[in-house]
Symmetry: C2
Subunit: 241 residues, 2 copies
Protein backbone atom coordinates (compact mmCIF):
# COMPACT_ATOMS: atom_id res chain seq x y z
CA UNK A 1 0.00 0.00 0.00
CA UNK A 2 1.14 3.48 -0.88
CA UNK A 3 1.12 5.73 2.18
CA UNK A 4 0.86 9.00 0.29
CA UNK A 5 -2.82 9.48 0.90
CA UNK A 6 -5.31 12.17 -0.02
CA UNK A 7 -8.93 11.87 1.06
CA UNK A 8 -11.57 14.02 -0.60
CA UNK A 9 -14.24 14.10 2.07
CA UNK A 10 -17.88 15.11 1.83
CA UNK A 11 -18.75 16.48 5.26
CA UNK A 12 -22.49 16.93 4.72
CA UNK A 13 -24.16 20.25 5.51
CA UNK A 14 -21.88 21.06 8.44
CA UNK A 15 -23.17 19.61 11.67
CA UNK A 16 -21.16 16.63 12.89
CA UNK A 17 -24.27 14.44 13.07
CA UNK A 18 -24.32 14.25 9.25
CA UNK A 19 -20.72 12.92 8.99
CA UNK A 20 -20.39 9.30 7.96
CA UNK A 21 -18.18 7.00 10.02
CA UNK A 22 -15.68 6.84 7.15
CA UNK A 23 -15.54 10.64 6.87
CA UNK A 24 -14.90 10.98 10.63
CA UNK A 25 -12.18 8.35 10.43
CA UNK A 26 -10.49 10.12 7.49
CA UNK A 27 -10.56 13.50 9.26
CA UNK A 28 -9.30 12.02 12.53
CA UNK A 29 -6.41 10.29 10.74
CA UNK A 30 -5.43 13.30 8.64
CA UNK A 31 -2.46 15.49 9.53
CA UNK A 32 -3.47 18.24 7.09
CA UNK A 33 -7.01 19.43 6.31
CA UNK A 34 -7.57 21.59 3.22
CA UNK A 35 -10.68 23.45 2.18
CA UNK A 36 -12.62 26.61 1.54
CA UNK A 37 -12.76 28.90 4.59
CA UNK A 38 -16.46 28.37 5.40
CA UNK A 39 -16.10 24.55 5.47
CA UNK A 40 -12.82 24.40 7.38
CA UNK A 41 -14.42 26.67 10.01
CA UNK A 42 -17.24 24.13 10.40
CA UNK A 43 -14.70 21.34 10.92
CA UNK A 44 -12.08 23.13 13.02
CA UNK A 45 -14.10 23.01 16.24
CA UNK A 46 -14.16 19.20 16.05
CA UNK A 47 -10.55 18.75 14.91
CA UNK A 48 -8.61 21.72 16.29
CA UNK A 49 -5.15 20.10 16.29
CA UNK A 50 -4.63 19.79 12.55
CA UNK A 51 -2.64 21.83 10.08
CA UNK A 52 -5.15 23.73 7.93
CA UNK A 53 -4.72 24.81 4.32
CA UNK A 54 -7.40 27.40 3.69
CA UNK A 55 -8.01 29.31 0.48
CA UNK A 56 -10.89 31.52 -0.62
CA UNK A 57 -13.69 30.19 -2.86
CA UNK A 58 -12.21 31.31 -6.17
CA UNK A 59 -8.83 29.66 -5.55
CA UNK A 60 -10.01 26.09 -6.09
CA UNK A 61 -7.22 24.93 -8.36
CA UNK A 62 -4.55 26.34 -6.02
CA UNK A 63 -6.25 24.67 -3.06
CA UNK A 64 -6.24 21.30 -4.82
CA UNK A 65 -2.58 21.63 -5.81
CA UNK A 66 -1.63 22.54 -2.22
CA UNK A 67 -3.51 19.48 -0.94
CA UNK A 68 -1.83 17.20 -3.48
CA UNK A 69 1.58 18.68 -2.61
CA UNK A 70 0.96 18.05 1.10
CA UNK A 71 -0.02 14.44 0.41
CA UNK A 72 2.89 13.95 -1.99
CA UNK A 73 5.19 15.26 0.76
CA UNK A 74 4.10 12.32 2.91
CA UNK A 75 1.52 13.96 5.14
CA UNK A 76 -1.91 12.29 5.27
CA UNK A 77 -4.22 14.95 3.88
CA UNK A 78 -7.97 15.47 3.70
CA UNK A 79 -9.68 17.94 1.36
CA UNK A 80 -13.09 18.79 2.80
CA UNK A 81 -16.13 19.64 0.67
CA UNK A 82 -19.56 20.64 1.93
CA UNK A 83 -22.23 18.05 1.19
CA UNK A 84 -20.82 15.32 -1.04
CA UNK A 85 -17.22 15.22 -2.30
CA UNK A 86 -18.34 14.75 -5.89
CA UNK A 87 -21.54 16.78 -6.38
CA UNK A 88 -20.21 20.24 -7.35
CA UNK A 89 -17.31 19.29 -5.06
CA UNK A 90 -13.56 19.00 -5.43
CA UNK A 91 -13.34 15.28 -6.34
CA UNK A 92 -13.21 15.88 -10.10
CA UNK A 93 -10.58 18.61 -9.99
CA UNK A 94 -8.45 16.58 -7.56
CA UNK A 95 -8.61 13.51 -9.82
CA UNK A 96 -7.71 15.62 -12.84
CA UNK A 97 -4.72 17.25 -11.12
CA UNK A 98 -3.70 13.97 -9.47
CA UNK A 99 -2.51 12.74 -12.88
CA UNK A 100 0.65 14.77 -12.07
CA UNK A 101 1.06 13.07 -8.67
CA UNK A 102 1.14 9.36 -9.50
CA UNK A 103 2.33 8.36 -6.00
CA UNK A 104 -0.67 9.91 -4.25
CA UNK A 105 -3.53 7.51 -3.57
CA UNK A 106 -6.77 9.50 -3.79
CA UNK A 107 -9.83 8.20 -1.95
CA UNK A 108 -13.22 9.85 -2.46
CA UNK A 109 -15.36 9.69 0.68
CA UNK A 110 -19.00 10.42 -0.20
CA UNK A 111 -21.26 12.55 1.98
CA UNK A 112 -24.83 13.75 2.37
CA UNK A 113 -25.35 16.40 -0.32
CA UNK A 114 -27.89 19.20 0.17
CA UNK A 115 -30.40 17.49 -2.14
CA UNK A 116 -30.68 14.74 0.49
CA UNK A 117 -30.31 16.71 3.74
CA UNK A 118 -32.65 19.41 2.46
CA UNK A 119 -35.18 16.86 1.25
CA UNK A 120 -35.27 15.22 4.69
CA UNK A 121 -36.25 18.55 6.28
CA UNK A 122 -38.99 19.23 3.72
CA UNK A 123 -40.41 15.69 3.69
CA UNK A 124 -39.73 13.46 0.69
CA UNK A 125 -39.60 15.75 -2.36
CA UNK A 126 -37.17 13.57 -4.34
CA UNK A 127 -38.88 10.25 -3.70
CA UNK A 128 -38.92 9.62 -7.44
CA UNK A 129 -36.83 10.62 -10.49
CA UNK A 130 -35.13 13.99 -10.08
CA UNK A 131 -32.67 16.37 -11.70
CA UNK A 132 -30.04 18.48 -9.95
CA UNK A 133 -29.13 21.78 -11.61
CA UNK A 134 -26.80 24.54 -10.46
CA UNK A 135 -27.82 28.08 -11.40
CA UNK A 136 -24.23 29.32 -11.17
CA UNK A 137 -23.04 30.57 -14.54
CA UNK A 138 -19.44 31.15 -13.47
CA UNK A 139 -18.30 28.07 -15.41
CA UNK A 140 -21.50 27.13 -17.27
CA UNK A 141 -23.06 29.31 -19.99
CA UNK A 142 -26.58 30.45 -19.04
CA UNK A 143 -27.95 28.97 -22.30
CA UNK A 144 -26.90 25.52 -21.11
CA UNK A 145 -28.54 26.05 -17.71
CA UNK A 146 -31.73 27.27 -19.40
CA UNK A 147 -31.79 24.23 -21.71
CA UNK A 148 -31.47 21.89 -18.74
CA UNK A 149 -34.30 23.67 -16.90
CA UNK A 150 -36.54 23.27 -19.98
CA UNK A 151 -35.66 19.59 -20.40
CA UNK A 152 -36.15 18.83 -16.69
CA UNK A 153 -39.55 20.55 -16.74
CA UNK A 154 -40.68 18.68 -19.86
CA UNK A 155 -39.48 15.39 -18.37
CA UNK A 156 -41.60 16.06 -15.24
CA UNK A 157 -38.58 15.57 -13.00
CA UNK A 158 -38.48 16.87 -9.46
CA UNK A 159 -35.83 19.56 -9.71
CA UNK A 160 -33.26 20.51 -7.10
CA UNK A 161 -31.53 23.86 -7.64
CA UNK A 162 -28.09 24.45 -6.17
CA UNK A 163 -26.56 27.95 -6.00
CA UNK A 164 -29.92 29.55 -6.79
CA UNK A 165 -28.62 33.03 -6.18
CA UNK A 166 -25.75 35.16 -5.01
CA UNK A 167 -25.13 38.88 -4.67
CA UNK A 168 -23.94 39.03 -8.27
CA UNK A 169 -26.78 36.82 -9.57
CA UNK A 170 -29.69 38.19 -7.54
CA UNK A 171 -32.40 37.64 -10.18
CA UNK A 172 -31.44 34.09 -11.22
CA UNK A 173 -33.99 32.18 -9.17
CA UNK A 174 -36.81 34.28 -10.63
CA UNK A 175 -35.41 33.74 -14.15
CA UNK A 176 -35.33 29.99 -13.57
CA UNK A 177 -38.86 29.91 -12.14
CA UNK A 178 -40.19 31.95 -15.06
CA UNK A 179 -38.76 29.37 -17.48
CA UNK A 180 -40.30 26.50 -15.49
CA UNK A 181 -43.66 28.32 -15.41
CA UNK A 182 -43.81 28.01 -19.22
CA UNK A 183 -44.30 24.26 -18.67
CA UNK A 184 -45.54 23.85 -15.11
CA UNK A 185 -48.48 25.04 -13.06
CA UNK A 186 -47.91 27.98 -10.71
CA UNK A 187 -49.50 25.78 -8.03
CA UNK A 188 -46.66 23.20 -8.25
CA UNK A 189 -45.53 22.31 -4.75
CA UNK A 190 -42.05 23.69 -4.04
CA UNK A 191 -39.81 24.19 -1.04
CA UNK A 192 -36.52 25.62 0.01
CA UNK A 193 -34.06 25.06 2.80
CA UNK A 194 -31.47 27.51 4.05
CA UNK A 195 -28.35 26.82 6.18
CA UNK A 196 -29.14 23.12 6.66
CA UNK A 197 -27.79 21.79 9.95
CA UNK A 198 -26.33 25.17 10.83
CA UNK A 199 -27.33 28.16 12.93
CA UNK A 200 -30.33 29.86 11.36
CA UNK A 201 -31.63 26.72 9.62
CA UNK A 202 -34.89 27.53 7.88
CA UNK A 203 -37.23 25.62 5.60
CA UNK A 204 -40.44 26.57 3.86
CA UNK A 205 -42.96 24.94 1.55
CA UNK A 206 -44.57 27.21 -1.06
CA UNK A 207 -45.97 27.28 -4.61
CA UNK A 208 -43.89 27.78 -7.75
CA UNK A 209 -45.53 31.18 -8.24
CA UNK A 210 -44.52 32.19 -4.72
CA UNK A 211 -41.02 30.79 -5.22
CA UNK A 212 -40.56 33.05 -8.25
CA UNK A 213 -40.96 36.05 -5.92
CA UNK A 214 -38.62 34.70 -3.22
CA UNK A 215 -35.09 35.90 -2.51
CA UNK A 216 -32.52 33.13 -2.14
CA UNK A 217 -28.87 33.23 -1.14
CA UNK A 218 -25.90 30.94 -1.77
CA UNK A 219 -26.75 28.81 1.28
CA UNK A 220 -30.23 28.04 -0.05
CA UNK A 221 -31.24 24.80 -1.79
CA UNK A 222 -34.49 24.88 -3.76
CA UNK A 223 -36.86 21.98 -4.50
CA UNK A 224 -39.44 22.08 -7.29
CA UNK A 225 -42.00 19.30 -7.28
CA UNK A 226 -43.14 17.15 -10.20
CA UNK A 227 -46.76 16.48 -11.14
CA UNK A 228 -46.71 13.71 -8.49
CA UNK A 229 -45.68 16.01 -5.63
CA UNK A 230 -48.27 16.91 -3.02
CA UNK A 231 -48.49 18.53 0.38
CA UNK A 232 -49.17 16.08 3.23
CA UNK A 233 -49.32 17.48 6.75
CA UNK A 234 -47.27 20.45 5.52
CA UNK A 235 -44.61 18.09 4.14
CA UNK A 236 -43.57 18.00 0.49
CA UNK A 237 -44.03 14.42 -0.73
CA UNK A 238 -43.43 13.03 -4.23
CA UNK A 239 -45.29 9.80 -4.84
CA UNK A 240 -43.52 6.98 -6.59
CA UNK A 241 -45.59 7.07 -9.76
Amino acid sequence: MDNKKLYVVGIGPGDRSYLTARASEALEGAEVIAGYTVYTELIKKYYPDKEYIVTPMTKERERCVLALEAADGGRITAMVCSGDAGVYGMAGLILELACDYPKVDVEIVPGVTAALSGAALLGAPIGHDFAVISLSDILTPWEKIEKRLRMAAQGDFCIVLYNPSSRRRSGYLKRACDILLEYMSGATVCGYVRSIGREGEESRVLSLSELAETEADMFTTVFIGSMSTALMNDKMVTKRI
Copy 2:
Protein backbone atom coordinates in the same frame (compact mmCIF):
# COMPACT_ATOMS: atom_id res chain seq x y z
CA MET B 1 -41.96 16.74 23.07
CA ASP B 2 -43.98 13.82 21.90
CA ASN B 3 -42.21 10.57 22.68
CA LYS B 4 -43.93 8.49 20.00
CA LYS B 5 -41.05 8.52 17.59
CA LEU B 6 -40.48 6.97 14.17
CA TYR B 7 -37.16 7.47 12.40
CA VAL B 8 -36.91 6.77 8.67
CA VAL B 9 -33.21 6.05 8.32
CA GLY B 10 -31.05 5.95 5.20
CA ILE B 11 -28.32 3.45 5.99
CA GLY B 12 -26.19 3.99 2.87
CA PRO B 13 -25.11 1.02 0.76
CA GLY B 14 -24.80 -1.37 3.69
CA ASP B 15 -21.39 -1.22 5.29
CA ARG B 16 -21.36 0.54 8.66
CA SER B 17 -18.67 2.98 7.51
CA TYR B 18 -21.26 4.77 5.36
CA LEU B 19 -23.68 5.38 8.27
CA THR B 20 -23.97 8.96 9.44
CA ALA B 21 -23.61 9.72 13.15
CA ARG B 22 -27.31 10.60 13.32
CA ALA B 23 -28.31 7.33 11.64
CA SER B 24 -26.20 5.30 14.11
CA GLU B 25 -27.73 7.21 17.01
CA ALA B 26 -31.27 6.58 15.74
CA LEU B 27 -30.62 2.85 15.28
CA GLU B 28 -28.93 2.53 18.67
CA GLY B 29 -31.83 4.29 20.38
CA ALA B 30 -34.54 2.33 18.61
CA GLU B 31 -36.40 -0.54 20.25
CA VAL B 32 -37.91 -1.76 16.98
CA ILE B 33 -36.24 -1.82 13.54
CA ALA B 34 -38.43 -2.33 10.46
CA GLY B 35 -37.35 -2.94 6.89
CA TYR B 36 -37.06 -5.11 3.83
CA THR B 37 -35.26 -8.40 4.52
CA VAL B 38 -32.03 -7.58 2.62
CA TYR B 39 -31.52 -4.30 4.53
CA THR B 40 -32.43 -5.58 7.98
CA GLU B 41 -29.92 -8.41 7.44
CA LEU B 42 -27.20 -5.80 6.78
CA ILE B 43 -28.07 -4.02 10.02
CA LYS B 44 -28.75 -6.99 12.31
CA LYS B 45 -25.09 -7.86 12.80
CA TYR B 46 -24.47 -4.41 14.27
CA TYR B 47 -27.68 -4.19 16.32
CA PRO B 48 -28.61 -7.78 17.20
CA ASP B 49 -30.70 -7.01 20.28
CA LYS B 50 -33.60 -5.22 18.65
CA GLU B 51 -37.07 -6.36 17.76
CA TYR B 52 -37.20 -6.67 13.97
CA ILE B 53 -40.24 -6.19 11.73
CA VAL B 54 -39.31 -7.70 8.39
CA THR B 55 -41.49 -7.91 5.30
CA PRO B 56 -40.68 -8.84 1.69
CA MET B 57 -40.08 -6.19 -0.96
CA THR B 58 -43.62 -6.08 -2.31
CA LYS B 59 -45.18 -5.49 1.10
CA GLU B 60 -44.08 -1.89 1.49
CA ARG B 61 -47.37 -0.42 2.64
CA GLU B 62 -47.85 -3.17 5.24
CA ARG B 63 -44.29 -2.62 6.47
CA CYS B 64 -44.90 1.11 6.89
CA VAL B 65 -48.18 0.53 8.74
CA LEU B 66 -46.50 -1.97 11.08
CA ALA B 67 -43.73 0.55 11.80
CA LEU B 68 -46.23 3.34 12.47
CA GLU B 69 -48.26 1.00 14.73
CA ALA B 70 -45.12 0.12 16.69
CA ALA B 71 -44.25 3.80 17.14
CA ASP B 72 -47.85 4.69 18.02
CA GLY B 73 -47.76 1.95 20.65
CA GLY B 74 -44.96 3.86 22.38
CA ARG B 75 -41.92 1.94 21.15
CA ILE B 76 -39.15 3.99 19.54
CA THR B 77 -39.03 2.66 15.99
CA ALA B 78 -36.65 2.98 13.04
CA MET B 79 -37.59 2.10 9.46
CA VAL B 80 -34.39 1.37 7.54
CA CYS B 81 -33.92 2.09 3.83
CA SER B 82 -30.86 1.33 1.74
CA GLY B 83 -29.05 4.44 0.53
CA ASP B 84 -31.07 7.54 1.40
CA ALA B 85 -34.40 7.48 3.23
CA GLY B 86 -36.07 9.63 0.58
CA VAL B 87 -34.58 8.64 -2.79
CA TYR B 88 -36.82 5.75 -3.88
CA GLY B 89 -37.04 5.08 -0.14
CA MET B 90 -39.83 4.79 2.40
CA ALA B 91 -39.91 8.42 3.59
CA GLY B 92 -42.75 9.45 1.26
CA LEU B 93 -45.01 6.50 2.02
CA ILE B 94 -44.39 6.87 5.77
CA LEU B 95 -45.28 10.59 5.65
CA GLU B 96 -48.42 9.81 3.65
CA LEU B 97 -49.59 7.08 6.03
CA ALA B 98 -48.50 9.10 9.09
CA CYS B 99 -51.49 11.42 8.48
CA ASP B 100 -53.50 8.66 10.27
CA TYR B 101 -51.10 8.65 13.25
CA PRO B 102 -51.04 12.28 14.41
CA LYS B 103 -49.23 11.45 17.66
CA VAL B 104 -46.22 9.90 15.94
CA ASP B 105 -43.31 12.27 15.36
CA VAL B 106 -41.60 11.21 12.10
CA GLU B 107 -37.95 12.18 11.57
CA ILE B 108 -36.29 11.56 8.21
CA VAL B 109 -32.57 10.76 8.60
CA PRO B 110 -30.81 11.18 5.24
CA GLY B 111 -28.13 8.78 4.01
CA VAL B 112 -25.63 8.23 1.23
CA THR B 113 -27.65 7.13 -1.80
CA ALA B 114 -26.07 4.91 -4.49
CA ALA B 115 -25.63 7.87 -6.85
CA LEU B 116 -23.10 9.24 -4.35
CA SER B 117 -21.44 6.07 -3.06
CA GLY B 118 -21.20 4.64 -6.58
CA ALA B 119 -19.84 7.90 -7.97
CA ALA B 120 -17.08 7.92 -5.35
CA LEU B 121 -15.91 4.49 -6.52
CA LEU B 122 -15.93 5.48 -10.20
CA GLY B 123 -14.31 8.90 -9.71
CA ALA B 124 -16.45 12.02 -10.02
CA PRO B 125 -19.10 11.25 -12.65
CA ILE B 126 -21.75 13.57 -11.17
CA GLY B 127 -19.50 16.56 -10.59
CA HIS B 128 -21.94 18.70 -12.51
CA ASP B 129 -25.72 18.73 -13.23
CA PHE B 130 -27.25 15.26 -13.23
CA ALA B 131 -30.53 13.37 -13.46
CA VAL B 132 -31.51 10.27 -11.51
CA ILE B 133 -33.93 7.88 -13.22
CA SER B 134 -35.25 4.50 -12.11
CA LEU B 135 -35.88 1.96 -14.87
CA SER B 136 -38.42 0.08 -12.75
CA ASP B 137 -41.84 0.18 -14.39
CA ILE B 138 -43.67 -1.47 -11.52
CA LEU B 139 -45.24 1.88 -10.52
CA THR B 140 -44.15 4.11 -13.43
CA PRO B 141 -45.39 3.62 -17.02
CA TRP B 142 -42.51 2.86 -19.42
CA GLU B 143 -43.56 5.81 -21.62
CA LYS B 144 -42.81 8.16 -18.74
CA ILE B 145 -39.39 6.57 -18.14
CA GLU B 146 -38.60 6.81 -21.85
CA LYS B 147 -39.61 10.47 -21.95
CA ARG B 148 -37.31 11.22 -19.03
CA LEU B 149 -34.40 9.42 -20.69
CA ARG B 150 -34.93 11.50 -23.86
CA MET B 151 -35.14 14.77 -21.94
CA ALA B 152 -32.07 13.97 -19.81
CA ALA B 153 -30.08 13.10 -22.95
CA GLN B 154 -31.13 16.29 -24.74
CA GLY B 155 -30.30 18.36 -21.66
CA ASP B 156 -26.78 16.83 -21.61
CA PHE B 157 -27.21 15.75 -18.00
CA CYS B 158 -25.04 13.07 -16.45
CA ILE B 159 -27.55 10.28 -15.87
CA VAL B 160 -27.69 7.85 -12.98
CA LEU B 161 -29.89 4.79 -13.51
CA TYR B 162 -31.35 2.99 -10.50
CA ASN B 163 -32.96 -0.45 -10.82
CA PRO B 164 -31.48 -0.91 -14.31
CA SER B 165 -32.60 -4.51 -14.50
CA SER B 166 -34.16 -7.42 -12.73
CA ARG B 167 -35.08 -10.96 -13.68
CA ARG B 168 -38.44 -9.80 -15.00
CA ARG B 169 -36.95 -6.76 -16.80
CA SER B 170 -33.78 -8.26 -18.23
CA GLY B 171 -33.64 -6.16 -21.41
CA TYR B 172 -34.38 -2.77 -19.84
CA LEU B 173 -30.82 -1.46 -19.62
CA LYS B 174 -30.30 -2.16 -23.33
CA ARG B 175 -33.62 -0.47 -24.15
CA ALA B 176 -32.55 2.60 -22.18
CA CYS B 177 -29.09 2.72 -23.79
CA ASP B 178 -30.61 2.41 -27.28
CA ILE B 179 -32.81 5.45 -26.57
CA LEU B 180 -29.82 7.44 -25.28
CA LEU B 181 -27.79 6.43 -28.34
CA GLU B 182 -30.28 8.34 -30.52
CA TYR B 183 -28.85 11.53 -28.96
CA MET B 184 -25.44 10.62 -27.58
CA SER B 185 -22.20 9.23 -28.97
CA GLY B 186 -21.48 5.53 -28.46
CA ALA B 187 -18.11 6.63 -27.09
CA THR B 188 -19.75 8.47 -24.15
CA VAL B 189 -17.91 7.56 -20.95
CA CYS B 190 -20.08 5.39 -18.71
CA GLY B 191 -19.61 3.25 -15.63
CA TYR B 192 -21.42 0.92 -13.33
CA VAL B 193 -21.06 -0.23 -9.76
CA ARG B 194 -22.44 -3.42 -8.26
CA SER B 195 -22.99 -4.29 -4.57
CA ILE B 196 -21.42 -1.07 -3.28
CA GLY B 197 -19.78 -1.53 0.11
CA ARG B 198 -20.83 -5.19 0.21
CA GLU B 199 -19.25 -8.53 -0.54
CA GLY B 200 -18.57 -8.82 -4.26
CA GLU B 201 -18.30 -5.04 -4.83
CA GLU B 202 -17.42 -4.41 -8.46
CA SER B 203 -17.03 -1.31 -10.60
CA ARG B 204 -16.21 -0.80 -14.25
CA VAL B 205 -15.78 2.08 -16.65
CA LEU B 206 -16.91 1.49 -20.23
CA SER B 207 -18.43 3.19 -23.29
CA LEU B 208 -22.16 3.69 -23.86
CA SER B 209 -22.02 1.18 -26.75
CA GLU B 210 -20.45 -1.40 -24.43
CA LEU B 211 -22.94 -0.59 -21.68
CA ALA B 212 -25.80 -1.40 -24.06
CA GLU B 213 -24.47 -4.97 -24.27
CA THR B 214 -23.94 -5.36 -20.50
CA GLU B 215 -26.11 -7.38 -18.15
CA ALA B 216 -27.10 -5.57 -14.97
CA ASP B 217 -28.94 -6.77 -11.88
CA MET B 218 -31.01 -5.05 -9.20
CA PHE B 219 -27.89 -4.29 -7.13
CA THR B 220 -26.27 -2.37 -10.00
CA THR B 221 -26.18 1.41 -10.33
CA VAL B 222 -25.33 2.80 -13.78
CA PHE B 223 -23.67 6.13 -14.62
CA ILE B 224 -23.84 7.71 -18.07
CA GLY B 225 -21.55 10.65 -18.69
CA SER B 226 -22.39 14.00 -20.25
CA MET B 227 -20.43 15.68 -23.03
CA SER B 228 -18.09 17.00 -20.31
CA THR B 229 -17.25 13.56 -18.91
CA ALA B 230 -13.79 12.13 -19.58
CA LEU B 231 -11.57 9.29 -18.47
CA MET B 232 -8.66 10.37 -16.25
CA ASN B 233 -6.36 7.67 -14.91
CA ASP B 234 -9.20 5.17 -15.46
CA LYS B 235 -11.54 7.36 -13.41
CA MET B 236 -14.80 8.79 -14.74
CA VAL B 237 -14.66 12.58 -14.26
CA THR B 238 -17.24 15.18 -15.25
CA LYS B 239 -15.79 18.65 -15.53
CA ARG B 240 -17.70 21.56 -14.10
CA ILE B 241 -18.48 23.23 -17.40
